[in-house]
């Protein structure tokens, strides 16, 4: 609770962890896509060239992996889907087309955010496991490495698509949302609209 109609949504620690995950993920996406598409190889110049991208990518990946562990530890208890969440997912079409009256009221996180959390958590495991093999290929069989490359890239596709939707919803579609991840606060009106069950708990 706070004055001026603002509610605390995310703690300082949550915000730091979120942005370490987000920042490393974007850096990994840029360097990774540069090494996946010859036409994007020029992106390596953003980090100092091809060899630098090759060296940095796995280390940034290690930071990403650790920050994902922190994120899981911070949020896992809040992310299990309850009965209303499953109803929310059933009404996802109404959420997309803004038929708000038909969308079940969300708690602190709506079911889409929870699914995003679990998918990114699962993908992080794939990223780290296959990335480790690609980092130190001399320890692994060539056949395994080819599979690792495939899975690593498949995870990139999944993670990249979720990132696009995540940024769109958080920054573009719903003004007032991103602030929760900057100074940690949201307006009461925002909370009552997007997360009414959480809002009621706060009152």
């Amino acid at each position: 609770m706070s004055s001026n109609g603002l509610l605390h949504r995310f703690t300082y620690l949550e915000r730091v962890v979120h942005w370490v995950v987000g920042g490393t993920f974007v850096a990994l996406l840029v360097t990774g896509l540069a090494l996946s598409y010859p036409s994007l190889f020029w992106l390596t110049s953003l980090v100092g060239g091809g060899p630098a991208a090759r060296v940095l990518h796995p280390w940034v990946g290690a930071v990403f992996g650790l920050s994902m562990v922190c994120m899981l530890a911070l949020w896992i208890r809040e992310m299990f889907l309850d009965h209303d969440d499953w109803r929310w997912l059933g009404a996802i079409k109404d959420y997309v087309t803004r038929n708000h009256d038909k969308v079940p009221r969300a708690g602190k996180y709506n079911a889409g955010q929870k699914v995003f959390f679990w998918v990114q958590g699962g993908l992080a495991v794939v990223f780290v496991a296959t990335g480790l093999a690609l980092w130190m290929p001399e320890w692994f069989e060539p056949g395994l490495l080819a599979t690792a490359r495939l899975l690593h890239f498949a995870a990139t596709v999944g993670g990249g698509l979720f990132l696009i939707v995540h940024v769109y919803l958080g920054v573009v579609a719903y003004p007032g949302t991103a602030r929760g991840m900057i100074d940690g606060k949201v307006t009461r009106r925002w909370a009552s609209m997007h997360h009414p069950r959480w809002y009621e708990d706060q009152s």
């Binding site: 996946s36 090759r54 803004r98 001399e138 060539p142 007032g176």
Partner: protein
């Protein structure tokens, strides 16, 4: 003299993925032919390779084999492997000159994400340009013959370059030059194929009924070929039976890469269209 350094394919550029038939020209193609039946195991070729290419000498120990080193390295581009195998009740050395085969369809080049780090000259020789190498080692994974080796110190990958500097000067590779029994020959690919067929005939007359030429079609043929006395025992020579590499048919990864381009663009356009249809949802307007 023909230009021996004109490039046919370059890694991580469109030329890397064009099928070979579309790239072939009238330029002469060279090949090295290793007649295993003529090898006396002197390892002079290993020394010549080290000398010409100024590769660091790597101390070795006797590990119970006639072989000089256990494996190739970034400083050992050529290793004579002496596989001790029982053939018709006798122990024989099934020797393999382990070095880059210079594939027509090079798996290393297809796998490489760094533009220009791997090139294939029109003469068929596949060469690594370390100044463009980023050290990812995808070429190691892509090679069906397990040839490229990573140098931990320089963080680049190396392999036999067929003494391209000698070829460009009109000379044969150092290993060919030094071989005392002419077990290694050098010439145009056609001449070497003809020589190989002739030698296989000779071996068959001498009773090596399964003698064969090793020029695997799965990689489009190679620019180092072998005459294999026991052609039915490729495994025992450490020669892969059916190595493959291809720029053409879609592998799982290349399919996924194309699909990803579509999916990423689709979702970005999708969010834009969603925005234009439904707009931003301002909190104030809601209440």
């Amino acid at each position: 003299m023909p230009d021996n350094l004109s490039i046919r394919r370059m890694s991580a550029t469109p030329s890397a993925f064009i099928p070979l038939d579309a790239l072939r020209s009238n330029a002469p193609e060279y090949a090295k032919l290793v007649d295993i039946s003529k090898c006396i195991g002197c390892k002079g070729c290993e020394v010549a390779c080290k000398e010409w290419n100024e590769l660091k000498v790597e101390p070795t120990k006797n590990f119970g084999s006639f072989q000089s080193h256990k494996d190739l390295s970034a400083n050992t581009w050529l290793l004579m492997r002496f596989n001790e195998v029982e053939v018709n009740g006798d122990i024989q050395w099934l020797i393999k000159k382990d070095a880059c085969l210079h594939c027509e369809d090079p798996g290393c080049l297809f796998a490489c994400p760094a533009p220009g780090a791997i090139v294939q000259y029109t003469n068929g020789i596949v060469d690594f340009n370390q100044e463009n190498c980023i050290g990812c080692q995808y070429c190691v994974t892509g090679c069906p013959f397990d040839i490229p080796r990573f140098d931990k110190a320089t963080k680049t990958v190396s392999k036999c370059n067929m003494c391209i500097d000698r070829i460009d000067a009109g000379l044969e590779p150092a290993c060919v030059k030094t071989c005392p029994t002419n077990a290694i020959s050098w010439g145009s690919k056609q001449d070497m194929l003809a020589l190989a067929d002739k030698q296989v005939e000779t071996l068959k007359r001498r009773g090596y009924s399964s003698a064969s030429v090793y020029n695997p079609a799965g990689v489009g043929g190679t620019h180092m070929m072998y005459v294999v006395p026991h052609g039915d025992r490729l495994d025992d020579y450490s020669l892969p039976t059916d190595p493959t590499a291809s720029p053409g048919p879609m592998t799982g990864l290349s399919f996924l890469k194309r699909a990803a381009v579509f999916l990423f663009n689709f979702s970005i356009i999708g969010t834009a269209l969603h925005l234009l249809r439904y707009g931003q949802q301002h909190v104030e307007e809601h209440e």
